[in-house]
Symmetry: C3
Subunit: 347 residues, 3 copies
């Protein structure tokens, strides 16, 4: 890393170009505020334009038509994607040294693949299958009969209930609980009898799940997180839910039992969906909104209950107009009374 990276070389890597000194070398990436002349920085959000002039950054990663002058610019068609490519190149992921800690407890009936890492105080149950290059963090608990796919990383203190299946290349963050019992009770005479939760959680390939998020199993069948879906922290995915592939569930979102999401669905922060619903492909649910009915493909909904986001905005605007409507009604009432009086006068 000593000699850093040429802007020209990074431009090639991201399918972009250099405006300025293509021979300039950068040794790292930093924010506009923190960057030194040795650093590449970036401007992907115009809100941060004011920080540009004061920045000591040696070069700036920008999108097309940034309008920035007097700087060495690395111009990329998609600067945020370019940032990912550049950071991956500068910081190749460091894999932990393979091996099972002497302080871990791995069932003799577990199948451990090649180059697997198991950290201290981890517990791996009976008949568990850890495929090649799986990383099991410190204090992780994997229930009997679970399977973890190639190259998947379980960060410290993840808990998998028995029979959970996690695909390949997943990243499960600290404190996540997969396969806890769904919230299913049969109420008779005011008492709640537990309905056994015998289903399982299936997480497909290339999924990321954020810290302290929970995904429950149901009474029967599966709770499924689709391929390529990314889930943020403190999200609740209830029993029997199916989240389609390539979806995004932001922080503190919640999905109630048996609801099915299509592909490429986005649920923004603190949004929710009631149970037994169907959200179509490419649906977007605005932050803090709650969905209480099925949503068709490609709809963008907002509010509680969530409606098309344009209707939601219109309602907000009209509520703001209420004081004016009220005063106009008062005025009409007065003018009408005057006419009525005059009318009587004429009679």
């Amino acid at each position: 890393m000593k000699e850093g990276w040429l802007l020209s070389e990074l431009a090639d890597a991201v399918g972009g170009r250099v405006d300025g000194d293509a021979g300039r070398r950068v040794f790292g990436v930093a924010t506009l505020e923190d960057a030194t002349p040795d650093d590449l920085s970036l401007l992907t959000n115009s809100r941060y334009r004011p920080f540009l002039d004061a920045s000591r950054a040696g070069a700036i990663l920008v999108g097309p038509d940034s309008g920035i002058e007097g700087r060495d610019l690395l111009v990329a068609p998609d600067p945020y994607l370019a940032l990912a490519v550049i950071l991956d190149r500068m910081h190749p992921g460091l894999r932990p040294v393979p091996g099972v800690s002497v302080d871990a407890r791995v069932s003799p009936s577990a199948a451990v693949g090649a180059d697997v890492t198991v950290g201290p105080f981890a517990v791996v149950g009976a008949e568990v299958r850890l495929l090649d290059r799986v990383v099991v963090g410190a204090g992780v608990v994997i229930g009997d009969g679970s399977t973890i796919g190639e190259d998947t990383v379980l960060m410290p203190r993840v808990v998998l209930y028995p029979g959970t299946r996690v695909g390949a290349r997943c990243l499960i963050h600290a404190g996540v609980v997969l396969g806890g019992d769904g919230f299913g009770f049969a109420t008779t005479a005011g008492a709640h009898r537990k309905v056994p939760q015998l289903g399982r959680v299936v997480v497909e390939d290339d999924v990321e799940i954020g810290a302290n998020t929970t995904v429950d199993r149901g009474t029967l069948g599966e709770t499924r997180i689709g391929r390529g879906t990314k889930i943020d922290n403190l999200v609740m995915v209830a029993h029997g839910v199916v989240v389609g592939p390539h979806s995004l569930l932001a922080g503190q979102a919640g999905i109630a039992g048996s609801t099915r999401l299509g592909s490429h669905v986005t649920m923004a922060g603190q949004s929710g969906a009631a149970g037994h619903l169907r959200l179509g492909d490419r649906v977007v649910v605005a932050a803090k909104s709650a969905v209480f009915a099925d949503v068709p493909d490609r709809a963008f909904v907002a509010g509680t209950p969530a409606v098309d986001h344009r209707s939601w905005k219109r309602s907000l605007a009209l509520v703001k107009m209420l004081p004016e409507l009220r005063s106009r009604i008062r005025e009409l009432t007065a003018r009408l009374a005057a006419l009525e009086a005059k009318g009587k006068g004429n009679a």
Copy 2:
């Protein structure tokens, strides 16, 4: 299990009857989509009626008057309750082998009852009492002076702060934290001084608490979860709260400090209650709603701030009517102006 169960036998167990071949045998229970001819399936929610015709299930568990024909039906007065009964019969809970793991650390002053199970890397503090048949999962931490009642199960990685009391037959899921400090600070000159939290959390008998939920202790006195109450995942129960018996708190619900819930209260998903309130018996708080005032017995409230759910629905409907009201005001204004002009003409 080899020879399965006769429908007649299951009908007796659930106080129901068979419509069709009472001598048919089933070997398991599965969803309509997954069921084979050897399986019993169920139709408890009409939304899933479309899946029925394609289902290969050998028999269907239904409620009275299902209107389904050409199938062997197990008709139960309460099919969801019947499902619980049947699954309990088919899958008798497998208790872990009793015994204290050599990898657990149990204080010499702890009292361990008969047939107790303590998993690896669990820590049991001084003067803790584990009554008969308690199961302490891997990595659980039980603070000094806590008591766990008969047959209660603490799943992996539960943390109990010192002095916590959990009753009998409770199920506490992975990642739950009981007895953390309440959010209590005395603010002077803009700085927040911690008020010591010396109270304790008491969980009565037959309570279930979902994954990563937290229940705080207060400065003094108790935070109490009533007998038979069921709490879902990621729920926040603050210091000094009292939740009455047989209540249901759904996922991501939150209750602020010192609020008291009566018996059989339901708080739906992502709902909340402010502090120092009283919610009466059998109150229902709709999903995503926030309660900012006391609620009388049996009220069903919705919205933010939560009001009677009928008023809430009426307000939503009226807001939808606002465009029409506005155009009617415009029309009245025009007609009135015409009359006024005519009036002047007459003068």
Copy 3:
């Protein structure tokens, strides 16, 4: 403790006075309901006034002008602050015995200060610095290169990702995760590519963080929790967020990526703020509200989207008036029609 505390002595400690028997001794503090004649109790919230008459408490801690008679009163200018002072005096914090558990795994390259406590099954990574009197609870995992300041306590099962910095005198509760990856993905052709999260979390001095709360690190730069800030349970602080000093984040609040809070900000329970915003000093966000735009200093906002709380209350009131407005429009329409008919008659 045998001989308890004189009311006069406690009055001196809190800068207050005694109304009644200054020579009375109390041996503890309890709620009005639980207190015995040996206890001091308190009345800091008028809602609990009804419990006073029935209370057996020997003395009552109150504010000025309580209007209570016939009781021995400890009158303090700020009774809640006085409670903190009195409880600290009666219950001097018991520090665990210093020492590193033989069941902990501490990297040889970690620097361990004086009188540090490390509990069983804790894992302390390479190059970690634990300053004097740090307490690391059972099952805590501290990633490589992290630093923990003097007198800070990490309760059981806290996870710190590599490079996390925690200041002095902090209290981090069970299940907290600091430094998990921010939710940053570059989406191309519908697939989400992870943007490496290489930043770090910095927690300044005198911060408290509640159970199962998560604070993420960002791609670059820092996520920072300001000095003296207190965070409740199940709160989500996303990547790149800066929370100013002496702020309060109540239970289940959430702050999206790169948003900056000033000093002394209060976010009430279940409130949220969208990303890339600026909330000024001393801003208050009401419970369950969601901030979608910048907020100036000292503003008190409520609703979704959050607006000045007075406007929010006005809108609520006007929505309640809608039925009346509608009937008045109906009435005007009828009277106008009558006049029009009469007008035709005149013609």
